[in-house]
Symmetry: C2
Subunit: 218 residues, 2 copies
């Protein structure tokens, strides 16, 4: 089965939204794919015909098994290309998302499997997100929100949730990236901010908003 770029973007967005919201709504999806609710309804009907979503008008929609499989293939491509861009072409990790957004739609399965081999089957992309293997399986990591870390306990950054340029710029300033070692010195109750010691950097204070977007392994 080969799908259009639009169809693939919808499928992928539904998958990501399902991971966070118990109910994915037309408006939510419209925002995610940068379009209007009416267009989403049109597409849902199309995806239903292609058996990629279960769709009950006015009620709900979810990915079918085939839809989920398709979503994981697109996500696999996206993250493998991101890994390639950062680790082979020396892009910064906040420059790759947009380009991967295009590359994820290149259709060849053989290409992506060879790329996977060329990169030595990476398990995580540059943002710390797990890369599905060719069967759609992803590694699971026991990780905690930075905000919940016990005091003075060393931990390793494993995932950045918010991947906006604004967030990534800020993290670059603090020299925080995937794998960075850090620990919490103290917590400020007033605004929920935390003072952290980041590997090879002077102590810094991270706002609650920032800290909540950083996940760590211990």
């Amino acid at each position: 089965m080969n799908f259009s770029v639009s169809e693939e973007n919808y499928i992928k967005s539904i998958y990501h939204l399902q991971a966070v919201h118990q109910q994915v709504t037309t408006t939510l999806l419209a925002e995610a794919v940068q379009t209007k609710a009416a267009s989403v309804t049109d597409m849902l009907k199309k995806l239903q015909v292609k058996k990629l979503v279960h769709y009950k008008p006015y009620k709900s929609f979810t990915l079918t098994e085939a839809g989920t499989k398709t979503a994981l293939e697109i996500i696999r491509k996206h993250r493998l290309w991101e890994y390639f861009l950062v680790n082979k072409l020396q892009f910064e990790w906040n420059e790759v998302h947009e380009i991967a957004e295009e590359l994820e739609h290149i259709s060849s399965r053989e290409l992506i499997n060879r790329l996977d081999g060329f990169l030595d089957h990476p398990a995580f992309d540059p943002h710390g997100d797990p890369i599905p293997n060719s069967k759609g399986k992803m590694a699971e990591l026991k990780q905690n929100n930075l905000i919940d870390l016990p005091l003075k306990k060393m931990a390793s950054v494993s995932l950045i949730k918010d991947q906006s340029n604004a967030m990534l710029d800020l993290l670059k300033h603090y020299k925080i990236s995937i794998g960075t070692k850090l620990k919490i010195n103290r917590r400020f109750e007033f605004d929920g901010s935390v003072e952290v010691k980041i590997d090879k950097m002077p102590d810094a204070i991270l706002s609650k908003q920032v800290a909540q977007n950083i996940y760590c392994t211990q």
Copy 2:
């Protein structure tokens, strides 16, 4: 300027046809982009508005300077990706064209320039075609058709003109690829076929049709 996949395919095809035919016709272009003459006319009007072609209805059309520049950018991408696929992902040279046909439309200029660096600025793609640099300049090679080679004179294969799978399969059988050393032992006048000694292979006879598609440097 960003162009659609269709527009880019038309532009690239016009460029390639212009290199071979003194006059590119609507029918010729229609065949090249796998469509009908009427669709070509539609697209020519669109490309004229975008100042990519000079178009005189019923008379002629040619690429403008901007059109040529655009064509060379697409060809640069196509050939760099082909080089990547063969030299980094170990694809066979007859498997890459189709995939590059998609990859050539990825828009990022930064991506292609980094890819170029990663590959060490290759001058020729796996089929021997020159890769335009970021300014659109291509290396020129003094090459002769295999059929015109002086007898017993060693030469090196530098370009395969017909890049169809049929041709490439045949060349794989003879173990001929870019860089292969060979010489002509004798010519058969009757059908224009040639007996060649190919590096590390027993003598073989190539039909005129095959030999005419092989170019060499001396």
